[in-house]
């Protein structure tokens, strides 16, 4: 019974923790401009994140070591250093977007300027990282993030023409009003949002934090294979709400306040309040994960003592790295940069950095020295190779598409 509860909790937190500010903004923007014609990208992204998250979890559980420790050992300090520099920069951009997302969500709840919320949000993130245990932190943020199910409820309450939604989704093609290059730019952005690199660093390091062993592999697989697809459905619900309410009115999403209007239309103030709490929890949870990922990657590369399972005094440089990353995020946001614009940039640059994260994991998961009998099977490798091609294609296309489309404008 206890084990069953553990599995259920793992699935629920995987669902609630799936959506972050990148998913929220990108899905709503895409829904308001392209309807559900890009829903196939969410499917591709969810399958990809399931594949690589379960692979990195397996590597951590079997080897007892986190991703960056092995990347440095396997690729050497120079290649791993280049990987670290790119991953750390993308992670910092994502952390900035998440802290900005918390501030925007609190602005919706209070009318107080987001710039006043930014330091408060960053301080709260630091306080939780400093004081709260890893499992408590992960479970509370994940469970509160489940309130984003409100988008799914809203979609049903709106009573859309399901046939019309299906026609938008299948066969996938850009609407007549949008340029093909813009369609592909948002496809890459959506893919980057679903497969954000920090998720893998956090997942593998979290496995070490929680002391996973080879015995936990089955539970890991269930959490990922059930939780992430259900989390992906939340992404689709966000896009569908925008497609049903905002697209017909000619509204293009450019702010968080527009994303919640379909929820208000469908469920009134109660559902709206629940969804805003869900957004705060989802962005807060993702800010915790990205801040931790900053500490994880640097500490694992440099061989510092790391982990929430150690007291802060015993992993001082790990904690200092997180504090510095948070301060940098606050400094960037206090320049008055638009957090939504930062989010859009972060998902596109995530797509650029995807091969740096996923290629080493694929290599390590096939190395019998680390994995023993738990190396990838043929089917996993075949799918892994397909995703390698997709990930490289997305990374190569991201910047040219961004320039050609004026960042999707």
């Amino acid at each position: 019974m206890k084990r069953l509860l553990g599995v259920a909790l793992g699935i629920l937190t995987a669902i609630g923790g799936f959506v972050d500010i990148g998913d929220l903004v990108t899905n709503a923007v895409v829904g308001s401009r392209f309807g559900l014609s890009l829903v196939w990208v969410v499917v591709v992204g969810v399958v990809g994140i399931c594949l690589f998250a379960s692979m990195s979890g397996r590597v951590a559980a079997v080897s007892g070591r986190a991703t960056f420790e092995i990347i440095r050992e396997r690729l050497g300090p120079r290649a791993a250093g280049a990987n670290l520099a790119a991953s750390f920069a993308i992670n910092l951009l994502t952390l900035t977007a998440e802290v900005g997302g918390i501030a925007l969500a609190l602005h919706l709840a209070s009318s107080v300027e987001p710039r006043l919320w930014i330091p408060v949000a960053a301080f709260a993130v630091w306080l939780v990282l400093w004081r709260v245990k890893f499992q408590v932190m992960e479970n509370v943020a994940g469970l509160l993030g489940l309130l984003l199910v409100g988008f799914g409820v809203a979609l049903f309450l709106l009573g859309p023409d399901w046939g019309e939604l299906l026609r938008q989704a299948v066969p996938p093609s850009p609407p007549a009003t949008e340029h093909v290059a813009t369609y592909w730019y948002y496809a890459v952005a959506l893919f980057g949002a679903a497969m954000t690199p920090y998720e893998v660093f956090f997942f593998s390091s979290g496995a070490v934090e929680e002391g996973w062993t080879a015995k936990d592999l089955a539970q890991n697989r269930v959490n990922v294979l059930v939780g992430f697809p259900l989390g992906g459905l939340l992404s689709v619900a966000i896009a569908a709400c925008a497609a049903v309410v905002l697209l017909p009115a000619g509204i293009e999403v450019s702010s968080l306040s527009q994303i919640v209007l379909p929820v208000a239309e469908a469920g009134g103030t109660l559902l709206l309040a629940l969804v805003i709490v869900g957004i705060v929890a989802a962005t807060f949870g993702a800010a915790l994960e990205t801040a931790l990922s900053s500490g994880y990657t640097l500490a694992q590369y440099l061989g510092w003592s790391w982990g929430k399972f150690r007291r802060p005094a015993r992993a001082a440089r790990f904690h200092v790295t997180m504090v510095v990353a948070l301060l940098l995020a606050v400094a960037i946001l206090m320049t008055s940069v638009d957090p939504v614009a930062v989010t859009e940039m972060s998902v596109v640059f995530s797509a650029v950095a995807l091969p740096l994260t996923y290629v080493p994991i694929l290599l390590v998961a096939n190395d019998p020295e680390y994995m023993g009998e738990h190396v990838n099977g043929r089917a996993t490798n075949a799918l892994g190779m397909v995703y390698l091609v997709i990930v490289v294609a997305a990374a190569v296309a991201a910047i040219p598409l961004m320039i050609a489309t004026g960042a999707g404008s």
Binding site: S111, G250, I251, E252, S254, S257, Q258, A264, E265, S409
Partner: protein, 182 residues
């Protein structure tokens, strides 16, 4: 065993070093010159007529989205389906979108009479839309309990405000049609 020097005298080495340094300096000067020439071409904004028309249409579409968002927000607040902080944030965000639209139009240098007329019509429509959205924000503030009852510019009812916003949206559509938009 000493490795034989690759060059003759110390003076030769110094001369070669100076030549290499001056070559590097010349290279830097060339790169700087090319960069300056390239960026100098950007200092005068010059667009083809089609590009200018597309820029006007983009700005008007953005403004249209802002007005429609405001109409939706006002309708939801009037029906008590949205909280006043969310409504205020939504309308404030649209004021900023309209600022961007205005900026896009005012900084445009139309290359011919046709795009100049499109830009002028767009500026008038966006200015009108901005006025109505600003009035909507005042209305939201009054709904939130702000002491604005005597303020003459604030529409008294939601339906009055909706009518003003609908007219602004129509004007934007007309300007957009002039710029070849939908």
């Amino acid at each position: 065993m000493r490795t034989p020097a690759r060059s003759g005298t110390i003076a030769d080495v110094g001369r070669r070093a100076r030549i290499t340094r001056s070559g590097a300096v010349l290279g830097h000067v060339l790169v700087l010159a090319v960069a300056l020439a390239t960026t100098a071409g950007c200092t005068v904004s010059r667009q083809e007529p089609g590009q200018a028309t597309a820029a006007v249409a983009d700005a008007l579409a953005q403004a249209g989205s802002a007005v429609e968002t405001t109409r939706l927000t006002v309708r939801l607040l009037d029906a008590d389906r949205v909280t006043t902080p969310v409504a205020d944030a939504a309308v404030l965000d649209q004021v900023r979108v309209l600022e961007e639209s205005t900026s896009a139009l005012t900084t445009l240098v139309p290359p011919d009479d046709v795009s100049s007329a499109q830009r002028d019509a767009g500026l008038v429509a966006v200015a009108d839309a901005t006025r109505e959205v600003v009035a909507a924000r005042a209305w939201v503030a009054r709904e939130a309990g702000g002491d604005l009852s005597e303020a003459g510019a604030v529409p008294l009812t939601a339906s009055e405000l909706q009518a003003d916003l609908a007219r602004a949206a129509d004007d934007l559509d007309t300007a957009l049609a002039l710029a070849g938009g939908a």
